[in-house]
Symmetry: C2
Subunit: 698 residues, 2 copies
C-alpha cells in the first residue's frame, strides 16, 4: 500500500543543504549512510553539489519523477514544494518541516492548505513536523534521527519525534533491531491507522509498537486495526490518559485527547494490547520480537537463588498466570541430573554453585515437560557462578524445544557479556524477574484475543418509524433534550417497557386496573395541582388485593382533598410495583473520536460509589455484550447470589444490543441513560424506570 | 548496640584457608582488601600463615580475645568453634557456614544447639547460612561478597544472600554507595528487627532497605521498627505475598511466611514503606539516598520533549501527586529567558533544540517557585541536544535551592557520560519518568507517616470478670468454640448489645414487652418442638402497635398449634426489630507472627463480593480505628449517602477499640466475628446480630 514511502526507487530531498548542522544535510547523509539503492536527488536552488551528489534547482528539473519527496525547506516554502511534486506526479511525500498546526493560527491555516494540495494531486503525505521514516530492510533512512537502527522485527510508530530519539538510543544499547521507525508528526494526511495496516503487511515486521497521543479518526482506527491486530501483536502506549495528562496533550500537539475510557474500549475492540509505561512497551516488545508466542499460561522457573524465585512466583500469581506443575517424570529426570540439595519442584533451584551444564540441563529438562508453556531462567551472580557459560547453555537449551524462554540475570557490572550472549541467542533478559513475568502476561493476553466480532447483520425487529417520528418531532421543536415521555416512547419502540400504569377514576376502575397490571401495585394521586404527592398522603405502595385497593383509592382521594381544598383530582394512577433482582444502568455518551460509547453497570452504589462500570464502542456484538456483564466486579449479583435467584441476563444482553442498534439508527443521539433499568429474575425481562435521551445540538 | 559486629577492634576468622577457591580464603582477602584497621586473626589448625598473616591453631591460642568471630568451618565443627569463642569471652559471631535448619532435620537440631550455646555464653550470632556483613565506613568487609561497595548512605538488610550478590552487582554499575550490607541468614539469634534498629542509629545510614521473606518475631518487629521508621525511611520488599509465593518461601528457608494482610498491617503500623518489586526498591532508595525529602506533593516538569512530559503528567495524577501550578512571576521569568515557542507553564518545555544554559535556567527558575516541591528534568537525546553539558547545568541549578530534583534522561547509548555526571551531582536518573514519579510518591508517603500511636492507656470500663468467667467456663468444659449465647455474654461484658428480647406467655405480656422494647418489633414462636418457625407461621415482623401485637400473638400461637399438634409452646419471643444504616463486620484472626489481626468492613456484598475490608494489628489506637473507617471503598455509605443519614461512626470507632481491648485482655482468643454488626444513625449506637468467638485449642 505504502510502497512509494517504504520502497521507493527514487527520492528527492527538497531542501538538501551543504551545512552539516542543518537537517537538510543530516537527512541526506542518513539516506546515503543508510545505503539507499535507488536514485537520490538533492534539490537546492543555490547548490550544484551536496555530499558529492549532483544537486538540482527544483523538482521540475529532476531527470525523472521521484517516487518519494522528502521535504525540509522552511514552512513558508513547503506548500510550493509539495505542489510542485504533485504536478510532477510524485505520489508520496514526507514533510519534516515544522511550523504547522502545532505552532500557531498561521501554521494551522498553512496545514489546511497543505491538506487541500494533497487532495488535489492525490499525493499522500506523512507529517508535517516529523522526524521522518526508516525501513531498515529497504536500506531507507529518510529521517534526521541520530542513527539507523539494526535490522530487526519491531516496527515503531510514534506521534512524538522525541520519543523516537529516546527509543533509538535505548535500542542501540540493547542491540535491538527494528524493521521500521515511523514518525507521524501532525498527520495532515496519512494516519496512524494506515501506517499500522501497512506495517502489519510488512513481512519483516513481527510486532508493532505504538506511541500515541490521539487517533486521527477513531472509527477508521477500529476498522483498520481490528483486521490485523489478531495476526500481529500491536502494543500501544496512549499518553494523556488522565485529566491532567490530557491538558498536557492539547498544549503539546493540539490534538484532542479522547476520554481514557473511550481509548480503552477502542483498543479492546481492535485487539490492541495497551500498556501503561514506556518500560512495559519495551519489555513486552522484546519478548514478542525474540521468542515464539506462549501457548498457554503455565510458567516454570529455573533459578540459582531462592529469593528472586519467590518474587517471581508472587508475580506469576498476581498476573493471573499459573506456576507450572512439573510431571513426576520431569522431576525424576531433574533429580538424576542435579545435586541432592537442589529443588526439583517448580521453582527449580539448581543452587548457588550450579555449573553451566547443570543449569542448562535443568532448563532443557523443564522445557521438555508438556505442562510447561514458558520458562524464566533466573540467575544471580554468586561467587562461583559461570555467568557467561550459563547464558550460552540457556540459549542452547531454549532453542531445542520451541517453548517461550526468557532470562532474568539480576545484577549489573559482572553481567555485561552475559547480556550480549543472551541477545545473540534471542533470549530476552529482564533485570528483574517481575518485568519478565509481566511480558509473559501480555503474550497470554495476545493469545486470548478473541476473534473480532463482526457487527451483527441480524437486527432486532423494532418500530424504527415510531422512534424516528418522536425524535424528529423534538428536533423540529428546536429542542435537543427529550421529555421523559418522549424518551420512553423511543425506548418502547426498541423493545423496552416502562412500568405498566393506568389512570383510574373510581375505586372500581382502580381494582380493574390493578388486576390487569397484577398485584402488588402502587397507587398515586393524579392531580395537576399536587406536586408533592407523598406529603399530600397521595401515594400508597405494596397494595396487594382488591379490598386494599379500594381502601387505598378512597384514602388517597380524601387525603388529597384535605391537603389542598380546590385541587383538581383527575383520579388515581395505578402503577406496577417494580421489583426485581437488581438495578442496572445502561448509558451512552458519544465520544468525539470513536462515536457512541456504551456503558453498563449495576445501579446505585455500584455506579456512584464504586465506579463499577464497563464500556464498549457501538456497534456491539453479542459476545461483546455478554462480556460486559462479566466485566463488572458485581457480576455475581446477576448470577444468583445468596438466596436471590439469577437475574435475566439474556434480557440484559439483548438490552445492550438493542441500545447499540438504536444508536446506529440515530447517529444524532448524543447521550442516553436507562437508569435504573430493573432486571427481574430469569425469563421475566427488564423494566425501565427512568429514561433520558439527549440529541446533538443543531 | 552492635558495636562488636560493625566496629570490632579485633576479628578472628575461624576457618581461614590458603586455597583461593574456598570461602575461608575469600573472606580473609575481603577483610584485608576492605582495609580493616584492627587486629585480624586467621584461625586454622593446619596452617602457619595465610595471606601473609600469622595463623592460629585455635581460639584459645589467640593473643587476645577477639571482639568478633567470623566462622566458616564446616557445620559439624561450627558449634565447637562458637562454644570456644563463648568461653574466651567473645560476644559477637557471624556464622557463614550453611547446613543448619535450611538443609534437613539434622541441621535443624544443630541450629537448636547453636541457639543454646549463644544463650549460655551471651554471644550474639548473625547467621548461620549467610553471606556475612559489611560496613564501608568501618572498612569492614566480613563477607564473601564478590566486592566491597562504595561508601554511601544506603543500608541493605537481606534474608537472601543471592539478592545481595545481585544488588552489589547492580550498585557497581550504578556507582551507588552503601553504608552497610547485612546478610541475615537463618536468624538463629540476631533478628532483622535488631539489625534495623542498629542501622537506624548509624550516622552514615540515611535510608534502610529490607528484603525479607518473614519476620523472626512479629511483635518485636513492630515494637522496635516503629520507633525508628518515622525518623529514617525504611523500605521493605516482602517476598512470598501471594499463596503460591508463600509455598516457595517455605520450601526455601523453612521460615513460615505470614499472611500478606498481616504483613501489610504490620508495615503500616511500624511506618515501613512497602514496595512490590526489586525495581521499586532500588528506584525509591536512590531518591532517598541522593536528595532531600520532598516537602509537599507539587511536582514540576522541565522537559525538552512533549511526549515524555505527557506520560509524566499522567503518572503524577495516577500516583496522587499534583502537577504544580507555577506563579505568574515564575512564568514571566521563564518567558524572559526562553525562546518564544517554549511552553512556560508546567510542564515547562524548553524545546528540542534547547542549549544547556536554557535548560539549566529553566530548572533554576522553577526551583525558585515556592509552589514547587519537586522537579523532574526530562531529556531525550535529540540531534542537537548537549546532553553532558545539560546534566552539569541541572546539577548546579538543583543544588542552589534545596528542592527535591530528579532527572529522566531517556535513551541509552549516547547518555552514558551524562548518567555519570548526574550521579556526581547526586541527581538520581530514571530511564523512564514514570519510575521517578513513583519514587516521588514514596517520599510523600514517608512525609505523611503519622507519628506512631501509643497504645491508649485509657481502657474502656468493661466487665472483664464476667467475660473471664464465661471464657473459663468454656475452657473448663474442654471446648474452644463459644456458643452463640456465651459469645454474646462476652461481648456484652465489653459494651456491645444484642437485640432486646423478652419471652411473653400471654398477649398482655407480649404488649408490655413490645412497649418496653419500643415498636416496631418482631414476634417469634418459642417452642423446643418447632424448628422451622417461618414454615409454621410462627414469625411476624414489623409489628407496630398494641393491637397488631395482640393479633400477632394469637395468630402465631394458633398457627403453631395447627402446624404441630402436641408441640410444647413456651410462649412468643418479642424481639427488637433491628434496623439501621448499614451492616458492618468486625472480625479478628490471630496471626502466628503479629498476634491479633483485626478486620473491619461493611457487611453483605462489600465483604463477600468486593473484599472491601481493612486490617490493623491489635492493640489499636483511636486514630488507627478512625483510619479503618476511612480505608474502605464503601466509606461514604457511613457518612450519610443520598437520603440515608450519617451512621454512628463514633460508636463504630469505639467498637473497634473495645474489640481490641477484649483481645488484649484474652490472648487465648483465636478468632472472633461480629457479623453483622448493625450501625444505626448518629447517636444511636450499634446492635450485634450475630457473634462468634473461638479460643485457641488446648
Amino acid at each position: 500500500m505504502f510502497k512509494k514511502f517504504f520502497s521507493p526507487e527514487s527520492i528527492a530531498l527538497i531542501g538538501a543543504s551543504r551545512e552539516p548542522h542543518k537537517l537538510g544535510y543530516r537527512i541526506l547523509e542518513n539516506l546515503i549512510l543508510g545505503g539507499f539503492k535507488g536514485n537520490l536527488y538533492p534539490v537546492n536552488p543555490k547548490a550544484n553539489e551536496v555530499l558529492d551528489l549532483p544537486c538540482y534547482k527544483n523538482v521540475s528539473s529532476l531527470p525523472k519523477t521521484p517516487d518519494l519527496a522528502v521535504i525540509v525547506v522552511p514552512a513558508k516554502l513547503a506548500l510550493d514544494a509539495v505542489e510542485e511534486c504533485g504536478k510532477q506526479g510524485t505520489k508520496a511525500a514526507v514533510i519534516i518541516t515544522a511550523g504547522f498546526k502545532e505552532s500557531n493560527a498561521e501554521g494551522k491555516e498553512r496545514e489546511e492548505k497543505l491538506y487541500t494540495i494533497s487532495q488535489k494531486y492525490g499525493i499522500r503525505i506523512i507529517g508535517p513536523n516529523c522526524l521522518g521514516i526508516t525501513d531498515t530492510y529497504q536500506n531507507l533512512n529518510a529521517s534526521f534521527a541520530p542513527y539507523m537502527p539494526h535490522k530487526g522485527p519491531i516496527a515503531f510508530i510514534s506521534q512524538s519525534g522525541a520519543i523516537i530519539s529516546a527509543v533509538l538510543d535505548w535500542a542501540k544499547n540493547e542491540k535491538l533491531g527494528f524493521s521500521r521507525i515511523i514518525s507521524l508528526g501532525n498527520m495532515v494526511d496519512v494516519s496512524e491507522s494506515e501506517v499500522i495496516e501497512d506495517c502489519a503487511s510488512d513481512p519483516h515486521t513481527k510486532v508493532i509498537l505504538l506511541y500515541m497521543e490521539g487517533v486521527k479518526d477513531g472509527r477508521d482506527f477500529i476498522s483498520r486495526v481490528s483486521k490485523v491486530a489478531r495476526k500481529k501483536p500491536i502494543i500501544a502506549l496512549k499518553a494523556g490518559m488522565t485529566a491532567a495528562g490530557s491538558r498536557a496533550v492539547s498544549s503539546h500537539t493540539g490534538s484532542l485527547a479522547g476520554m481514557s475510557q473511550a481509548y480503552q474500549a477502542a483498543f479492546k475492540k481492535s485487539g490492541v494490547l495497551q500498556v501503561e509505561t514506556m518500560e512495559e512497551l519495551f519489555d513486552i516488545s522484546m519478548l514478542f520480537a525474540c521468542q515464539p508466542i506462549l501457548q498457554g499460561n503455565r510458567i516454570a522457573i529455573v533459578t540459582n537463588a531462592g529469593g528472586p524465585s519467590v518474587l517471581a512466583t508472587d508475580m506469576i500469581e498476581k498476573e493471573g498466570l499459573v506456576a507450572a506443575e512439573l510431571l513426576k517424570k520431569t522431576e525424576k529426570n531433574l533429580a538424576a541430573g542435579l545435586p541432592p540439595a537442589a529443588n526439583i519442584h517448580n521453582p527449580v533451584d539448581v543452587l548457588g554453585d550450579a555449573s553451566e551444564k547443570e543449569y542448562g540441563f535443568a532448563v532443557e529438562t523443564v522445557a521438555q515437560d508438556p505442562g510447561v508453556d514458558g520458562i524464566i531462567a533466573i540467575l544471580t551472580p554468586q561467587v562461583v557462578t559461570p555467568v557467561n557459560e550459563t547464558a550460552r547453555e540457556i540459549g542452547k537449551a531454549a532453542k531445542q524445544k520451541g517453548k517461550t524462554v526468557m532470562a532474568s540475570f539480576m545484577g549489573g557490572a559482572s553481567l555485561m557479556q552475559a547480556y550480549d550472549l543472551l541477545r545473540e541467542e534471542k533470549i530476552p533478559n529482564y533485570p528483574f524477574p517481575e518485568r519478565g513475568i509481566r511480558a509473559f502476561r501480555a503474550m497470554v493476553d495476545f493469545s486470548n484475543l478473541s476473534t473480532a466480532e463482526k457487527p451483527s447483520s441480524k437486527a432486532f425487529p423494532v418500530k424504527k418509524a415510531l422512534a424516528q417520528a418522536a425524535i424528529e418531532k423534538v428536533e423540529k421543536s428546536g429542542r435537543n433534550i427529550l421529555t421523559d415521555f418522549e424518551a420512553r416512547e423511543v425506548f418502547e419502540a426498541y423493545g423496552f417497557r416502562a412500568p405498566r400504569r393506568t389512570l383510574a377514576k373510581s375505586a372500581e376502575e382502580a381494582i380493574a386496573a390493578a388486576e390487569s397490571i397484577y398485584y402488588p401495585v402502587v397507587a398515586k394521586i393524579a392531580s395537576p395541582d399536587i406536586l408533592h404527592k407523598t406529603e399530600a398522603g397521595g401515594v400508597q405502595v405494596g397494595i396487594s388485593n382488591a379490598s386494599e385497593m379500594k381502601k387505598a383509592f378512597e384514602k388517597i382521594v380524601s387525603s388529597a382533598k384535605a391537603y389542598k381544598k380546590n385541587a383538581i383530582i383527575e383520579g388515581v394512577e395505578v402503577q406496577e410495583m417494580v421489583t426485581g433482582i437488581q438495578e442496572t444502568i445502561i448509558g451512552v455518551k458519544k465520544d468525539p473520536q470513536f462515536g457512541h460509547l456504551l456503558m453498563f453497570g449495576l445501579g446505585g452504589i455500584f455506579v456512584e460509589l464504586l465506579g463499577d462500570v464497563t464500556f464498549r464502542i457501538v456497534p456491539i456484538g453479542a459476545k461483546e455484550a455478554e462480556g460486559m456483564l462479566n466485566d463488572i466486579k458485581g457480576a455475581k449479583l446477576l448470577q444468583g447470589y445468596r438466596k436471590t435467584p439469577a437475574a435475566d441476563t439474556e434480557a440484559l444482553t439483548e438490552a445492550i444490543l438493542r441500545v447499540s442498534q438504536l444508536c446506529m439508527d440515530f447517529p444524532s443521539i448524543e447521550e442516553l441513560d436507562l437508569n435504573p433499568l430493573i432486571v427481574k429474575k430469569r425469563g421475566k425481562g427488564l423494566v425501565m424506570v427512568d429514561a433520558r435521551i439527549i440529541l446533538a445540538e443543531k
